[in-house]
């Protein structure tokens, strides 16, 4: 790997994840977040070279939902801009790439979506091909349950194992004030929750939540003045795979595995177990275990610490959940994690996914030190 530009996360702001904000529209939720993120970096809006937003029209329940967000992002005078129909974690990738191309030094990356206005199970059915899969009424909970079923059959993982993974997230999440779910739960409690779609219980699935997020990225030379402890991007890669769930081996995530290999190589690491913390965008305990396999992690090991934030199980705002994984790592590595700080954490992985059954995965390797001289 030739030398790249060192780029850091220097700021992040979000609203606490809630089931439904009755008082604000999606752009109105975003405005204070952009202000806060910039204020935390000690810069005015004009200090930012590039802006990028992630949202989905079908989640917004209207075409061009992202256009209204321009008005709350400080888009005057006109700004270099892009919008992706993707989670903000993927938007951050593009902003990072733009810095590699030398086209900007600073960027804001926002994610917004008023998840509570629509019905994600219906909306995400429409992600499936309209000829074979969508007409069957498949929704993301059902496809996740199919994946869990295939994984359990192959691996021997039990219902109780899934409950344990979910409980670990819930227990960690109780210490995170930004979460929608704040109550710890034990495996026994979760085992008593009703089936959502068997083999997944309601206690293994996140409630629908909403928020707005803004991340600030800055290249070396700018980052240092914007943050006391910038968290540096040491490696990143993302990969997608074919959609048809019956044509994939659902018991593993080939795209996550490849993305992890590439990102680790960029970071100069041999294995994911060399990091201290991992934040996984897993919507079910089965997905979390499949991702552990893809990363080559022992799911039973104490290190790296997995999902100290509580993970998506404690808050799943669509379009921001991936960005929040990065945010948690930023907090962990920059001394902002408070009571849930992982001792001695210097390097970590943040993951995000989109699509049914972990179709598209991005892996970030982040650290307290610059990667390139």
């Amino acid at each position: 790997m030739s030398s790249l530009r060192n780029v850091a996360i220097v700021g992040f702001a979000q609203l606490p994840v809630v089931a439904r904000d009755l008082h604000r529209t999606s752009p109105e939720m975003l405005y204070p977040v952009v202000r806060q993120a910039l204020a935390d970096c000690g810069v005015e809006r004009d200090a930012i070279d590039f802006q990028i937003a992630g949202s989905v029209d079908y989640m917004d329940g209207r075409p061009f939902g992202f256009v209204a967000a321009l008005d709350v992002m400080g888009s005057w005078p006109p700004r270099l801009d892009l919008h992706l129909e993707m989670d903000a974690s993927f938007c951050a990738y593009y902003a990072w790439l733009r810095m590699q191309a030398g086209d900007c030094d600073t960027a804001i990356v926002v994610g917004h979506g008023k998840t509570s206005e629509g019905d994600p199970r219906r909306v995400l059915n429409l992600q499936l091909d309209p000829y074979y899969q969508a007409p069957m009424g498949l929704d993301p909970v059902s496809t996740a349950a199919l994946q869990a079923s295939a994984y359990m059959a192959r691996s021997g993982v039990s219902d109780r194992d899934l409950a344990s993974v979910a409980a670990a997230n819930r227990t960690a999440g109780a210490r995170n004030p930004e979460n929608q779910l704040h109550t710890a739960a034990t495996p026994d409690e979760l085992l008593k929750t009703p089936w959502a779609v068997e083999p997944l219980r309601s206690g293994y699935l996140p409630p629908v939540g909403e928020t707005a997020t803004c991340m600030v990225l800055a290249a070396e030379g700018k980052a240092e003045s914007m943050c006391d402890r910038p968290v540096w991007i040491q490696g990143v890669d993302h990969r997608t795979e074919l959609q048809t769930i019956g044509a994939r081996d659902l018991t593993q995530s080939a795209s996550a595995r490849l993305a992890a290999e590439q990102a680790l190589a960029m970071a100069g690491l041999q294995t994911a177990s060399e990091v201290d913390v991992v934040e996984l965008f897993a919507l079910t305990p089965a997905e979390e275990l499949i991702l552990c396999d893809a990363l080559g992690l022992d799911a039973q090991a104490a290190r790296p610490v997995r999902n100290p934030s509580g993970g998506p199980l404690c808050g799943y705002p669509i379009m921001s959940t991936g960005a929040i994984r990065m945010a948690e790592i930023f907090r962990q590595l920059s001394g902002r994690a408070g009571a849930r700080a992982v001792p001695g954490a210097r390097r970590a992985i943040a993951h995000a996914t989109q699509g049914h059954c972990l179709q598209h995965n991005i892996i970030w390797v982040l650290g307290t030190d610059r990667r390139w001289a």
Partner: protein
């Protein structure tokens, strides 16, 4: 840009009001196959795929790039999906440029499409939303007042829209891929129904099914290709807020800012003489005069005079939309990338019957939202 980037392959579909012969994947693959063939490449040569399209309500599939992963050869590759309203085709290509310019990718496939016949564009693009004033009548109803304001403040005569539309169709007749290729006369346009006064039916873009794909490559990869590439001299996409007091919707600041950015980066100082052809996004005929001013080809209020003098025709000083442009072909999400691809074909000398003789430098342009999103690139035959 950190390093040079070139267009090494261009492929587009036959555009028409209803491509019932193919499904969404088939439409996209028609463009992709042609672009790869044009570049002398196969799917396995491509490092990443960047897809763009306008609102997903047009086809009724949410984030359709996810089901299209297999169709476009993106399995196990990075893929991004761009959406910047009407400008999306152009901003998608620019996102692909970033990939190559970063030094991390050698060959990137970028695709934009729309299959509007699967649904209803008017319904999809201007739904009646709760708590919103229920008045905007589609894109035409939104933009017509700004055309009127342009006419009033520039003194633009009433037949300029018709002259623009007639020229677009005359050019489209020479473009084998265009949707509307039948010639029009000024009388035809002036006698066509008034839809959103001052916009007549004949001054309005069609609703099309279509797709386009481009292959972008690094210098080293481009030099290995079978053909002379188009070199991307500069590119940028800007956006501005909607409700800015005094915002000039007739000549938006984002458009002027974006134009200055791409001219400066490409070293263009004498626009009128250095640009040999321009493909600009004109969904309603009046916008051609408006954008000529916004892009700086002439002084404010003089855009219509270029059209009245016929200087925008093929064979004249500054051919505008030699392909026929959006007025002849409008698969919304693809239209911006078609502008970019057509600009590239001009400087590659491969635009066929609508080739501008000796074109060395060309501008591609698109806009979207409430005239808030602008995306442009300058391509040239010489590196």
């Amino acid at each position: 840009m950190k390093r040079p980037v070139a267009v090494v392959g261009v492929g587009q579909t036959q555009h028409s009001s209803r491509r019932a012969d193919v499904n969404i994947a088939g439409l996209v693959r028609e463009a992709v196959d042609r672009a790869l063939q044009d570049a002398g490449l196969e799917h396995t040569d491509i490092d990443a795929v960047i897809i763009g399209k306008a609102p997903d309500m047009l086809e009724g599939v949410a984030q359709p790039e996810q089901f299209l992963v297999g169709a476009v050869g993106a399995h196990m590759k990075p893929m991004l999906r761009v959406h910047t309203a009407g400008s999306v085709g152009a901003s998608t290509a620019l996102a692909a440029v970033t990939h190559v310019a970063s030094g991390l990718y050698e060959r990137v496939l970028t695709i934009a499409f729309e299959k509007q016949s699967e649904g209803n564009a008017m319904w999809a693009l201007s739904p009646n939303m709760p708590f919103m004033p229920p008045l905007v009548a589609g894109a035409g109803g939104f933009f017509a007042p700004y055309c009127r304001a342009y006419i009033q403040r520039s003194g633009c005569p009433a037949h300029i829209g018709a002259l623009t539309a007639v020229n677009a169709r005359a050019n489209a007749a020479k473009n084998e891929y265009a949707h509307l290729r039948e010639p029009l006369t000024v009388e035809d346009v002036l006698e066509s129904p008034m839809l959103w006064d001052p916009i007549r039916f004949g001054e309005t873009c069609p609703s099309s099914d279509g797709a386009i794909a481009l292959v972008l490559a690094s210098e080293a990869a481009a030099r290995k290709g079978p053909r002379r590439p188009a070199w991307i001299k500069s590119g940028a996409s800007y956006a501005e807020a909607m409700w800015v007091p005094g915002r000039d919707q007739v000549s938006p600041l984002a458009g002027r800012t974006c134009a200055k950015h791409v001219y400066d980066q490409a070293g263009i100082t004498d626009l009128w003489n250095q640009i040999d052809a321009a493909e600009i996004y004109v969904p309603f005929a009046w916008f051609e005069a408006m954008w000529l001013e916004n892009l700086g080809f002439c002084a404010e209020s003089d855009g219509w005079k270029i059209i009245e003098r016929g200087e925008q025709k093929l064979g004249a000083h500054l051919p505008i939309n030699p392909s026929g442009g959006v007025l002849a072909t409008n698969p919304i999400g693809a239209s911006g990338m078609i502008r970019f691809g057509e600009a590239a074909l001009q400087v590659m000398g491969r635009a066929g019957e609508h080739q501008v003789e000796g074109a060395k430098t060309a501008l591609g342009h698109a806009y979207g939202g409430g005239a808030q999103y602008f995306a442009m690139w300058i391509v040239a035959s010489d590196q």
